[in-house]
């Protein structure tokens, strides 16, 4: 019997599953579905081509092997879809493979009673970051000098973005470029900006956290590293082992060490990128002015709100005519201030509000920069536990008194760090 905290190498026993590194994730999903632990699996499937990832609800276990294990161009966020289109999994049991941001989004929606986590099994996937499809194609054409349509495999490994493709003579080629090289240029290549800042690399909020980091020795390339993160995860693993859907063995000590090193290196890089990107915003007044200038591109389409896993209010304040003139384009800066005030404490840096903003406003950068400051002040870390957000605890009378006592009109301390 396994328990929370246990770690294994696991691999599939099914010949139908062609997982790159053991296929354990696919087996877990298939097993959960075949044994009625869940009614459906919300999987990512390859759409038009290698660069296109789409969600699909799968109810037939035989279909599971066709779903992609991971697509580095899959930048979508599944949690909000579960809330919007699946009634928050209130009347349906599902299993979902999740990246770090997906897992965090599930928690934030769950604590707002928008998703019923009791009905959800989260299979975490280690994530080194994702690349938007069109950025990936442009980058492959420009930096790799390869026709993006000739690529049949992409991966992120050992700090490189690697592609496998067929050259003009039909010969199989392999080419990798260091991610930091790609990301330091002015073109905006490499992973999404929020992925560059991400520090949720092994999603332990999920029930099982799976990946290939730390698979060492004879199992290298043939097994998935699995960390059991909850009782639900332990039950799924045990059941899958008992049914011979997967086989497991203890991880190599050296593998554990390697996994730890990969994670630490990733976290360091994330921190470095935060420092660099936030510094680009400037400080104090300069930061505020930058935000005002860039948000004046807004057309008020509400894509940022629609796609944010924190936003769930039926009556959004930004849609109230007495707060925001609904006919003015661009809307008043208050539109953005309302968003900052309402959700910055809980922003999980999923990047959706930026990636999907038609006017290319770096919304996630703005929001995340504020979340990081609020976390320092209040110690609230969104996306990892079911702890309620800061604002849920604020007592209005006390807050007003505190605000009054500071003699400034800042709700929080001077978030922008400007000299008084």
């Amino acid at each position: 019997m396994s328990a929370k905290g246990d770690m294994f190498y696991a691999w599939t026993t099914s010949s139908d599953i062609k997982g790159e590194c053991g296929g354990a994730v696919t087996s877990f999903l298939q097993h959960a579905l075949a044994n009625k632990m869940v009614d459906a699996v919300l999987a990512v499937r390859r759409g038009a081509d290698l660069y296109d990832a789409k969600l699909e609800l799968i109810t037939d276990p035989a279909e599971i092997p066709k779903a992609a294990g991971s697509l580095h161009c899959g930048t979508l966020l599944s949690a909000k879809m579960v809330k919007k289109y699946m009634n928050g999994a209130n009347d349906l049991k599902i299993a979902v493979p999740v990246k770090g941001c997906d897992a965090m989004a599930f928690y934030e929606l769950a604590k707002r009673t928008q998703i019923n986590l009791d009905n959800v099994i989260l299979i975490g996937l280690n994530c080194g970051g994702t690349v938007s499809p069109i950025t990936a194609r442009d980058m492959i054409a420009d930096k790799y000098e390869v026709d993006p349509d000739s690529v049949f495999k992409e991966e992120i490994d050992k700090g490189q973005f690697i592609i496998d493709y067929n050259d003009a003579d039909g010969k199989h080629q392999h080419k990798g470029i260091a991610i930091d090289k790609l990301e330091e240029g002015p073109e905006g290549y490499g992973r999404r900006m929020n992925c560059q800042r991400c520090k949720c690399k092994i999603p332990r909020q999920a029930d099982l956290a799976c990946g290939n980091w730390g698979v060492f020795g004879e199992k290298s390339g043939k097994a998935t590293f699995v960390e059991v993160c909850s009782e639900k995860g332990a039950a799924l693993l045990d059941s899958a082992v008992k049914a011979h859907a997967v086989e497991v063995c203890a991880p190599e000590p050296k593998g554990l060490e390697i996994r730890g090193k990969v994670e630490t290196a990733m976290l360091k890089l994330g921190e470095k990128n935060r420092t660099r990107q936030f510094a680009g915003l400037g400080e104090g007044r300069e930061r505020l002015q930058k935000m005002m200038k860039l948000t004046s591109r807004c057309i008020g389409c509400r894509a940022c709100i629609e796609n944010c896993p924190i936003c769930y209010c039926v009556e959004c304040s930004t849609a109230k005519p007495h707060l925001i003139d609904q006919n003015r384009v661009p809307p008043d800066f208050m539109f953005h201030l309302i968003r900052f005030a309402h959700i910055a404490d809980s922003c999980i840096n999923c990047g959706q509000c930026q990636e999907l903003c038609p006017m290319d406003i770096p919304n996630a950068l703005f929001m995340h920069a504020q979340q990081v400051e609020l976390e320092k002040m209040f110690g609230h870390k969104p996306g990892y536990t079911m702890e309620l957000p800061v604002l849920a605890f604020a007592e209005e009378a006390n807050e007003r008194a505190r605000l009054h006592a500071t003699g400034s009109d800042m709700i929080y301390e001077n978030v922008f760090g400007e000299e008084k």
Binding site: D49, D52, L55, Y85, I299, A303, E355, L356, M359
Partner: protein, 400 residues
């Protein structure tokens, strides 16, 4: 429960963003980003975001004659009385929102069988073709924009932010507007609505290495924009308000709304293919009085409107989410439209309606067959491959 994505093209403006319709248990329940779209990269404006609601609530369920529901046979017989008219007495108007395939069938019917005197679309504006691709706008060094195009065509407009980031400049001409706010320099029309483009603007354009003029076919300053581009040797991006305005123009439909509004001599018989998605103005409302004088008004529509109210014959047609084919965006990119849903019982696609009306003279076995015919007969489409249109990047008519 079922949930899946079907990738298709936005039914609103001529930018042509790709989007995923979310299908759940037989209905379209929402829109999800289609990151693989070469145009929008998943981003959509308010219209695209709500494309699931493009099909309105007032679906026409059965054909009607004289306002009363009837069967297809009777309705088609009645509609075919159009053949009693010809020449200038007969007009066929299509919608520049329908697919290339539908419009091609309609064009053949109007020309070959009805021999209608007027064949057009009920939109205003002109027919013009730009010579720059949407993503090349990012590489321009100067863009002269007319008519608030950045707001009217958000996912075309956003390319100019990339251009600005690369050091390019946005110049703007027109009324105070959203685009004016984004511009690096602007010429605003005066209180009398007069606009003079400054010599400085012209000089900047002339001296630029890679200048582009951006305007819409229905813009107040379309003509001025065209002249300026020519005199300053700038490339042009000519934007269409409707998702397939460029396609309809290439197939030969002439924007006829202004002519119809102006004329005293309204044709005696008309066949109108109407498609007005939600959130768009009902263009037929102001034509109401004129159209009620028409002796025989046959309307093909998916949704009830002021137009279907006054029609003699109404034929219900599939909506955008139920039709497959292609749209041509403003840059001339032909992109796939997917049938995400099966049509409700009793509804026919525009091509099926044409097949019936033409007594199977204009009838194809599938969309690919219509496309092959378009390719053979419409010069702009001669090098477009159907296979390429099916792919995520689409295919371009005529190489620039």
């Amino acid at each position: 429960m079922q949930l899946k994505y079907v990738a298709t093209t936005c039914p609103f403006c001529g930018t042509g963003c790709g989007l995923n319709l979310i299908i759940s248990d037989g209905g379209v329940v929402g829109v999800a980003p289609y990151h693989r779209s070469p145009i929008g990269t998943g981003k959509l404006c308010m219209r695209g975001l709500h494309a699931a609601k493009a099909v309105g609530k007032y679906r026409i369920e059965a054909p009607t004659v004289g306002g009363l529901p009837t069967d297809w046979k009777k309705a088609l017989t009645e509609a075919l009385k159009l053949k009693n008219y010809s020449g200038e007495d007969l007009a066929v108007y299509t919608s520049s929102r329908l697919t290339n395939e539908a419009n091609y069938c309609i064009m053949r019917f109007a020309k070959e069988i009805l021999k209608a005197g007027t064949i057009g679309t009920l939109i205003s504006g002109r027919v013009a073709r730009g010579n720059v691709r949407i993503n090349d706008l990012k590489k321009a060094d100067v863009a002269l924009v007319f008519d608030d195009c950045m707001k009217r065509f958000p996912l075309t407009g956003n390319k100019l932010f990339y251009m600005q980031q690369n050091g390019g400049k946005i110049l703007y001409c027109g009324e105070e507007s959203y685009t004016a706010i984004q511009a690096d320099a602007k010429c605003i029309e005066d209180a009398d609505g007069k606009l003079v483009i400054s010599d400085e603007f012209k000089n900047i354009l002339k001296e630029a290495k890679n200048p582009v003029v951006i305007y819409s076919t229905t813009g107040k300053y379309a003509e001025l924009a065209e002249e300026t581009a020519k005199s300053c040797n700038a490339k042009t991006a000519v934007l269409y308000d409707t998702n397939n305005g460029r396609g309809a123009a290439e197939i030969g439909f002439i924007p006829s709304l202004d002519t119809l509004k102006a004329t005293e001599k309204v044709p005696k018989a008309m066949l109108i293919f109407a498609e007005t998605p939600m959130f768009m103005d009902d263009i037929y409302e102001e034509l109401g009085e004129k159209l009620s004088k028409v002796e025989l008004l046959v309307v093909v529509a998916s949704n009830a409107s002021s137009l279907t109210d006054i029609a003699n014959v109404v034929l219900p047609v599939t909506s955008f989410a139920e039709s497959e084919g292609s749209y041509t965006n403003w840059e001339g990119r032909v992109q796939k439209v997917s049938a995400a849903l099966t049509a409700p019982e009793g509804q026919k696609s525009p091509c099926e309606i044409i097949a019936e009306l033409s007594g199977k003279a204009i009838s194809y076995k599938d969309t690919a067959a219509i496309f092959a015919d378009i390719k053979a007969n419409i010069p702009a489409f001669k090098d477009v491959s159907y296979e390429q249109v099916q792919k995520a990047d689409g295919a371009f008519i005529e190489v620039i």
